[in-house]
């Protein structure tokens, strides 16, 4: 029996750092192709709808990484809370699309509005969102357990073939997240989940590159940001089965650099403790981790 019949699962992790989105939206001198958050969301929604459109069984979860916190924006297995129920009287849209769009947009708006001014520059909790996405995948790859709620939703647990996680990042590497990202990569490998990465703004991120490489996903550094949707659809929509026929772009070089434990700098040559493998950027008399 081919797994495709069960639909494929896609978890999208969206980096929603106001700081970097503001920079991304700056006009011509700073950016060749300015991209505002609103324009991005419109294209993202079209992409999400395209995923839902491919098969009735496709499942979707969207996680938002806000400064300092991460939340689940939408999950196809969870009922939409009453407050967010989409406009029911629309005859011009497919109801599931409506549900996705309304939930994602409303929650993002609500979260960004509630964000205190001083927090706007805090680094976004991409790692937390990634970890949540993995928890979510784990929840549905577990064998059917005592939890029968999922079944009641018509969503059979244990049948989540080739789950994928797509990370849409705008922030640069956060060196403090080195170890968590690595741990997330290993968990994804264990869950046989693919991590795809699209770096929409800013420089290449070393850690996400490694994540995509190690889980067999594709890493794309967005050059033509006006063509975001086309990038998304061509590279990240096809499930692994299709990628065997219609190849997707993969990254050119993978940077296997690490972050040092002492100053959280990303380094290419470092000093490694022979006992605990802690990485330091300068020789130390005593390893500070295992001492």
């Amino acid at each position: 029996m081919d797994d495709d019949s069960k639909g494929s699962h896609l978890s999208v992790v969206v980096d929603l750092s106001p700081l970097y989105w503001a920079r991304s939206a700056l006009p011509a001198p700073e950016n060749e192709f300015p991209l505002t958050l609103a324009a991005f969301l419109a294209q993202l929604l079209a992409f999400l709808n395209a995923h839902v459109a491919c098969a009735h069984e496709n499942t979707l979860a969207v996680f938002g990484a806000f400064p300092g916190k991460s939340i689940l924006l939408y999950a196809s297995s969870a009922p939409i809370p009453d407050g967010l129920a989409p406009d029911t009287n629309s005859a011009n849209a497919y109801p599931p699309f409506n549900a996705v769009d309304a939930a994602v947009v409303q929650r993002i708006t609500a979260e960004l509005d509630a964000l205190p001014e001083q927090d706007e520059e805090a680094p976004s909790a991409l790692v937390g969102a990634l970890a949540k996405a993995l928890c979510y995948v784990n929840r549905f790859t577990l064998p059917p357990s005592a939890n029968s709620k999922a079944q009641a939703n018509g969503f059979h647990p244990g049948v989540l073939p080739d789950p994928r996680i797509l990370v849409l990042s705008v922030s640069p590497d956060l060196a403090t997240s080195y170890i968590p990202v690595m741990n997330a990569i290993f968990s994804a490998q264990k869950l046989k989940a693919t991590i795809d990465v699209c770096q929409i703004y800013g420089p290449n991120t070393v850690f996400l590159q490694q994540a995509a490489h190690l889980t067999g996903g594709s890493y794309i550094f967005l050059e033509r940001r006006d063509a975001l949707l086309q990038y998304l659809i061509m590279s990240f929509l096809p499930p692994p089965a299709i990628r065997r026929t219609l190849s997707v772009p993969t990254q050119e070089q993978v940077d296997f650099r690490a972050a040092c434990f002492c100053h959280k700098r990303i380094i290419d040559i470092g000093f490694v403790c022979s006992v605990c493998l802690s990485i330091f950027c300068a020789p130390l008399p005593v390893c500070t981790t295992c001492r």
């Binding site: 019949s5 069960k6 098969a55 849209a93 659809i233 026929t245």
Partner: protein, 472 residues
């Protein structure tokens, strides 16, 4: 082994949906009219295989056509064949505009499908939800499932029991006409009898059954003066509706004929169980699960049978000793099993029987093939059975196939028996000649005779005449 009727999931992946060949046979203008509605585009898109879907998606947001070579550059070498097949299907569906060097979507399809994905527009093709009804409590999903199940099983049960002479509830006249037209039932002696095609139909998955009937319905639509595009659009609209929500028939705008078509369809589909209306004249309706899962591979019927909390999916346990235990109290399932199983006992939630030579022979006589029996058993195997590998006991599978082969023990071939040769030499000579022509089916040297096939007769006859003529 090629199975005639793969289970619904495999069907979705490997072979095109049964509706697609029908669509491909339609004219470009019909299809283009169909593509004007976003809901139709979305539904047809869902029926495509994943590779075709990806191709459509890749082209959807491009403003201009791209060279086919650019697109082909993304195809890995092993996938070339699949890719070409996918393209040709899309061409025949007129989703891709016909042009050998440039790839572009049909502009109508592109516009509508974009609209489907982004929302907006004013086509109202996804159904107009009815405003809240204060007089009546809304119909629950359970109620809808029950209704759909009852309707559908009535049809199937009627088919099963027509052969046995038992009385069961008759479906409406239109349904009977449809069954007759589709060749699933026939009335050679005045009363409707299930045909061999009908028996095969019973072993299909509900999804395949549904589409079988709907395809027949579509073929009949034109004779009945219905607009095919309207019929299709209505079906596709149903398939994009939300289960458990009430829709209004108003606002399904259109011409006079369109309105008539819709009214007729409402009646028909209500009979099939695809939608539910409070009363026939009601201006609002609920789609049932049968309708909303038309374009998906999830089970179109609430699979649990009846109110019992029985196993949800499979219910059949087959043992190596040909015994079959079916955990069901559903009369329909029992009746279907009865087609090829000798039933022995019946308990409140269990039917026990065994597969015997006679029972299988009876099924084969009805036109059911061994492969169909086996695939039915596989599709409905109890979860416990799924732990086995292979799923069904090999002995039983082989035996069922052998019983089928038994039927084909005799093979008839027309021809001539050549006999009464005067001497062994004569016999040898003619036989050798016949062997050179490769027309000898059987020979017996002791009795000096051989059997030649029909097409060799003229030559052999000429040969013998020439020889006897020469001797004389």
């Amino acid at each position: 082994m090629p199975s005639l009727h793969p289970n619904p999931s495999a069907e979705h992946v490997n072979s095109p949906h049964s509706l697609l060949p029908f669509l491909q046979s339609q004219s470009q203008t019909t299809l283009t009219r169909l593509y004007q509605r976003p809901s139709s585009c979305l539904s047809i898109f869902r029926l495509l295989v994943p590779l075709q879907q990806q191709i459509v998606m890749n082209l959807l947001w491009l403003e201009s056509a791209i060279a086919s070579s650019t697109m082909a550059a993304w195809v890995v070498r092993e996938g070339k064949k699949d890719y070409d097949t996918a393209l040709s299907t899309l061409f025949r569906l007129h989703i891709l505009s016909t042009s050998p060097i440039k790839l572009a979507l049909n502009p109508t399809f592109k516009t509508s499908f974009r609209q489907a994905l982004t929302g907006g527009g004013t086509t109202g093709s996804f159904g107009v939800p009815a405003p809240k009804d204060d007089k009546h409590p809304p119909m629950g999903i359970d109620g809808l499932d029950g209704y759909a199940l009852e309707r559908w099983e009535t049809i199937l049960h009627y088919m099963v029991s027509s052969g046995t002479g038992q009385n069961s509830m008759r479906p409406s006249k239109d349904v009977l006409y449809l069954l007759q037209r589709s060749g699933l039932m026939a009335s050679p002696h005045g009363s409707l009898q299930i045909t061999s095609a009908g028996f095969q139909f019973l072993l299909h998955s509900p999804h395949a059954q549904l589409w079988d009937l709907l395809l027949q319905y579509l073929r009949m639509a034109e004779e009945r003066g219905m607009d095919l595009v309207e019929v299709l659009s209505f079906l596709f609209m149903l398939s994009t509706m939300e289960l458990g929500r009430e829709y209004s028939t108003e606002g399904m705008n259109g011409t006079q004929t369109a309105a008539l078509t819709q009214k007729a369809m409402l009646n028909d589909l209500r009979d099939y169980g695809l939608l539910w209306q409070r009363k026939p004249s009601s201006r609002r309706f609920y789609p049932t699960r049968l309708a909303t899962t038309l374009t998906s591979s999830s089970p179109p019927l609430p699979t649990s049978t009846g109110p019992s909390s029985g196993p949800k999916e499979g219910f059949i346990v087959l043992e190596t000793n040909y015994r079959i235990y079916a955990y069901t109290d559903n009369p329909l399932q029992t009746a279907v099993l009865n087609l090829f199983v000798a039933l022995k006992y019946r308990f409140p939630n269990l039917v026990v029987g065994s597969i015997t030579r006679d029972s299988v022979k009876k099924a084969l006589g009805n036109g059911i093939s061994a492969e169909q029996i086996i695939s039915y058993l596989i599709a409905h195997a109890h979860p416990q059975m799924r732990k086995n590998n292979p799923l069904l006991p090999v002995t039983v599978q082989d035996q069922i196939r052998l019983w089928e082969l038994e039927k084909n023990r005799l093979k008839s071939q027309e021809g001539y028996l050549y006999t009464a040769f005067t001497s062994p030499a004569d016999y040898e000579l003619v036989l050798n000649y016949a062997k050179q022509l490769d027309v000898v089916v059987w020979e017996n040297a002791a009795k000096r005779c051989f059997f030649g096939s029909l097409d060799g007769h003229a030559n052999i006859k000429g040969f013998i005449e020439r020889r006897t003529g020469g001797n004389a």
